[in-house]
């Protein structure tokens, strides 16, 4: 079971002027096996910090994080993170990028290239195996990064605004592809976004964070069947509800 449990997690940074910034305070959250949870919140609410803590890139100052009942003490081989952008290795071809994780696992070239080709086909990038990242559009680069993360076959996939820099059409396509791919592989996904529309479209559950300090404001379960219609009354209603919560956060006077 790849259940993720965050128990009263806090993280404070010191900025360059020596001021203490409380990025997260007492965040408790559970993510079920195979669940897709979207983290939504204003800029600077600690969404990225939360992902980095779960990924094992940083440690919390207080509280515990457990994946499959094991405490997270560092980077785990069954968890990976998809960054917002520019994370492809520019000296490797698309195929070599996608096969990277499998290569690190020690898989033979023939096997890992076969697996990488399969994932590339799934994200619609067949024919671009020998291409280098700088020759691809932003959307295709991000699709390659997604393929690389999926080829690694993590049980938990953390995604940090992966489609944030893309145009609407590309973003919608990738969202649909992500859902289709998850259907097949069944991993848990924690997806950070600042777009309400994206969260409502993707999530099994939406977690809304407030900022200063970063903490959970609300958790909404999304019962809508898939594929979700952005024009449906249900979709629009939930969109408005989430927006109202977010506006409430932003309009609150600072303490």
């Amino acid at each position: 079971m790849t259940r993720i449990e965050l128990n009263q997690v806090s993280r404070t940074y010191e900025n360059q002027r020596g001021e203490r910034i409380e990025a997260l305070r007492d965040v408790s959250l559970e993510i079920d096996d195979g669940e897709l949870v979207c983290l939504l919140g204003p800029t600077g609410c600690g969404k990225t910090t939360l992902l980095r803590l779960i990924a094992g890139l940083e440690s919390p100052d207080a509280g515990t994080i457990a994946i499959a009942n094991e405490q997270v003490t560092g980077i785990r081989s069954d968890v990976t993170l998809l960054f917002q952008q520019y994370s492809l290795f520019p000296w490797r071809t698309v195929l070599e990028n996608v096969a990277f994780g499998l290569e690190m696992k020690g898989m033979a070239r023939v096997d890992r290239e076969k697996a990488a080709r399969q994932v590339l086909a799934q994200v619609g990038l067949s024919g671009f195996e020998k291409t280098y990242p700088h020759e691809l559009s932003g959307g295709m680069q991000q699709r390659t990064a997604l393929a690389r993360a999926l080829a690694y076959q993590p049980r938990l996939l953390l995604m940090d605004e992966p489609f944030g820099a893309l145009d609407d059409r590309t973003r919608h396509r990738l969202q649909a592809e992500l859902l289709a791919l998850r259907q097949r592989s069944g991993q848990s996904i924690l997806f950070v976004t600042h777009a309400i529309d994206e969260a409502v479209f993707l999530a099994d559950r939406i977690v809304i964070l407030r900022d200063r300090p970063g903490a959970i404001e609300a958790v909404l379960t999304v019962e809508m069947p898939r594929p979700r219609d952005r024009q449906s009354a249900e979709f629009v209603a939930l969109h408005l509800k989430v927006r109202a919560i977010l506006e409430g956060i932003i309009e609150q006077p600072e303490i």
Partner: protein, 273 residues
């Protein structure tokens, strides 16, 4: 393309014209040689010059010295640079020393190197001096100053390359299962490669300048720098100027050769932001 070449030829032709006019005006081959007499030397690269051998022989000696000295500089500079770039504590130990030596021009070391190594050659070192091989012309002092001149650009650029590896690439590799060793081989090394190659280009250029100066010193017996000094002493100005042309041509060839090699290895960098 054709018109670009034509425009590029304007300045060299003007220089040649000015040179020829000055030579005619000076009317003294021991001061300013005619363009034609220099060209006549250049078209016979294998002809003996003043009993010292041909251009090709001298160029070969210079090139072999540079290649050996610079290879040593690379063999030490690149691994050391990778290590220093990667380990902060080593950097704290090595940096002050490097910053002290770096501004010390390699040419300033030449007399010192000559004094310490005298005219000892690689052949002496391995004890086969009395058979005439090229090793008998590879003076340790010259190899040392080439090494010194080539080392710093190679080393410093390598350190810089390692330190400017993007953090996101390191984290991404770790998150895809890379251990320290695989991270180094698959991310640090390829990331740093363009900077390493820049260091090699700069270092080779410096090594080529330093050898010419080293060969001009007393105790030198061959090489293109030696040929320049010797033709100066005999007032053979056409040989002297032809030697200068050779220095330029060989320097360009060395740089171009390395560029072909480095473009192949760092092709991806040109389009990167």
């Amino acid at each position: 393309m054709k018109s670009k070449l034509a425009w590029g030829a304007v300045l060299p032709l003007l220089v040649l014209l000015f040179w020829e006019l000055s030579a005619v005006h000076a009317d003294n081959a021991a001061l300013v040689p005619r363009v034609g007499s220099v060209a006549a030397r250049l078209v016979h690269p294998t002809a003996d010059l003043m009993g010292t051998g041909s251009f090709l022989r001298h160029v070969a000696f210079s090139v072999v010295r540079v290649v050996i000295g610079f290879t040593l500089a690379t063999l030490l500079g690149v691994p050391l640079g990778l290590w220093v770039g990667r380990v902060e504590r080593i950097r704290h130990i090595v940096n002050p020393f490097v910053e002290m030596l770096r501004p010390l021009c390699p040419i300033a070391w030449i007399p010192f190197a000559m004094a310490v190594f005298k005219t000892t050659t690689v052949a002496d070192l391995f004890g086969f001096h009395y058979t005439a091989t090229i090793f008998g012309h590879l003076q340790l002092g010259m190899l040392f100053v080439i090494f010194y001149g080539g080392f710093f650009p190679v080393f410093l650029n390598t350190v810089h390359g390692v330190q400017s590896v993007k953090h996101i690439h390191i984290e991404q590799a770790l998150l895809l299962g890379a251990d320290r060793r695989k991270l180094f081989r698959n991310v640090i090394l390829p990331s740093a490669m363009p900077a390493v190659l820049t260091g090699l280009r700069v270092g080779l250029g410096i090594a080529w300048m330093v050898i010419i100066a080293a060969e001009m010193m007393p105790g030198s017996d061959a090489g293109i720098g030696y040929l320049i000094m010797y033709s100066y002493e005999l007032a053979e100005m056409d040989v002297l100027v032809a030697s200068m042309v050779w220095i330029g041509v060989v320097g360009m060839a060395l740089s171009a050769g390395l560029k072909v090699f480095s473009d192949r290895l760092s092709f991806w960098q040109a389009r990167e932001r």
